[in-house]
Amino acid sequence: MDFTAVLAQTKPKLGCVADNLAAIKEQVVKAREAGADLIVFPELALSGYFLKDLVPEVALRINSPEISGLVELSTGISIAIGFVEETDDYHFFNSALYLENGKIRHLHRKVYLPTYGLFDEQRYLAHGESFRAFDTKFGRFGMLICEDMWHLSASYILAMDGATTLICLSSSPARGIDGDSLGSASAWQKLVSTTAMFLNCRVLYSNRVGFEDGVNFWGGSEYIAPSGESIARGALLEEDFVTARVAEGALRRERIFSPMMRDENLFVTMQELGRIAHERRR
């Protein structure tokens, strides 16, 4: 079905869950009043990104009052949001929730934690172990958190699991000043467009803005149609509230024009991956 999604390009305060939660609730209400059906927040929208030793301090259980408040808000509008999750066995995950009709519809834990260059996630966080598509009011979705999307297999698995919409929550730092546009923005724009084209999926990409210790997050949140075409794109480096009208017809038409996912041979893929895994074990 057709639906309206808002990509909330926010500027979280580092380590200030209460402040961020209040701002997020305002955005949810604003989106709902504007008639949106879904609002997508960035990765770690509740806490900020370069948390380091703050991880245990900002972590929330999925039954915490903060998360429960957001779950309740999801009666009128679906919500995708990133936060640090604490589990019963005291592991901390970079997680994303999909909330719908006052319930948690899906929890994704970031699988690929970047630990190179300016990133240090594996030092502080545990990694997730699955990519699962899930059903929503608007069709079958898959969620990815930032670096997850740079692994072809992640989007591929979600698409093979039936997802026709990929949501990516991101905290991508700005870098690369020698090209026509920002280096990291160009790289991501290519990635989301190519992923959409390969998998005949739409992509809803929500990236934050603001600075943390001199690192600037670049925004540019984007809705990509299944053809790979960018339909709506947020401002670079500034807060934004991007409204995307998502048309079911465009998905259907693209899947008729380019039926690659229909023809994708899961058997061949599994056979070859099985062989590679077997050979690596030897």
């Binding site: 580092l14 030793d53 703050l54 600075f211 210790d213 600037n216």
Partner: protein, 273 residues
């Protein structure tokens, strides 16, 4: 070299945004900086004026008796052209009072003392004006260690510490910094006739091309030599980076507890901001 050619429109936006965001998020609206008459501090002054409004930028020119009078004239010109607050505070009396006790001190000691004298003035004005001190060291100087620790390297925020001198020139031209300031020979101006390039023994453009390949692109020494850089030049620059590394780090702390500051007690400076 392509990698050193900056998209100045984008770079300007990033650096202006940096000053605006990082200053205001700590509840402050003003900045103070030393204006030497050279291009680095001129660029920082222009960036700050655009970010915070010229009325919120305080520039102080701090000449010593041996400073070239042209430097003060250029500092004044820069301040006028971007409309920021400007004052002149000579450091001769303070520096001479000290070296009256050490009359045989060499140029390096005198230069370091002057740089640190200026630092104390800037940080005093930070308290006086409720303003953050902006740093004006570029990436070339920081990597080569061509600066005084706790002197000109000291600041609260440095907008240009990740751009090379060649990029400072490009952005300065794009932002309309007076041509006289862009075109003159870079100088620390610690004594008469001093120029950076003579003292370093190579030009900034040469150094920047090598630093870019070595630091940003991570080419190995054999790859750099194969790319046409002189073996000796590569070794010189490499050892300058290595021997000055202490200047780019906090003082090291003897570890005795489970949580030592900056080793296993790690928080971003923007914690809670």
């Amino acid at each position: 070299m392509a990698g050193l050619i900056a998209n100045t429109e984008l770079l300007r936006k990033l650096l202006v945004g940096f000053v605006k965001d990082e200053v205001r998020k700590v509840g402050i609206s003003k900045v103070v900086l030393g204006l030497s008459g050279g291009i680095d501090s001129a660029l920082v002054a222009f960036i700050a004026a655009e970010a915070l409004g010229p009325e919120n930028v305080h520039a102080i020119c701090m000449p010593y008796s041996s400073s070239n009078p042209e430097s003060e004239a250029h500092a004044r010109l820069v301040a006028m052209s971007c409309g920021i607050n400007f004052s002149v505070l000579p450091i001769t009396a303070m520096v001479d009072a000290y070296f009256g006790m050490f009359p045989v001190a060499d140029n390096m000691r005198r230069g370091n003392k002057m740089a640190r004298e200026r630092m104390t003035i800037l940080f005093d004005h930070s308290a006086l004006l409720h303003a953050l001190v902006l740093g004006t060291s570029n990436k070339t100087e920081l990597l080569l260690g061509y600066g005084t620790l706790y002197g000109d390297m000291a600041s609260a925020l440095n907008p240009i510490g990740d751009i090379y001198k060649s990029q400072v020139w490009q952005l300065s031209a794009a932002m309309g910094i007076p041509a006289a300031v862009i075109e003159k020979q870079p100088s620390a101006d610690l004594w008469a006739g001093q120029t950076d390039e003579e003292e370093l023994g190579f030009s900034y453009r040469q150094a920047d091309e090598l630093l870019y390949q070595m630091v940003d692109q991570r080419l190995t020494k054999p790859e750099l030599v194969a790319a046409g850089f002189g073996r000796e030049f590569v070794e010189t620059i490499y050892s300058k980076i290595q021997s000055s590394h202490f200047k780019r780090r906090l003082p090291i702390i003897a570890k005795v507890s489970n949580r030592t500051i900056d080793r296993d007690f790690r928080y971003a400076r923007d914690w809670g901001k």
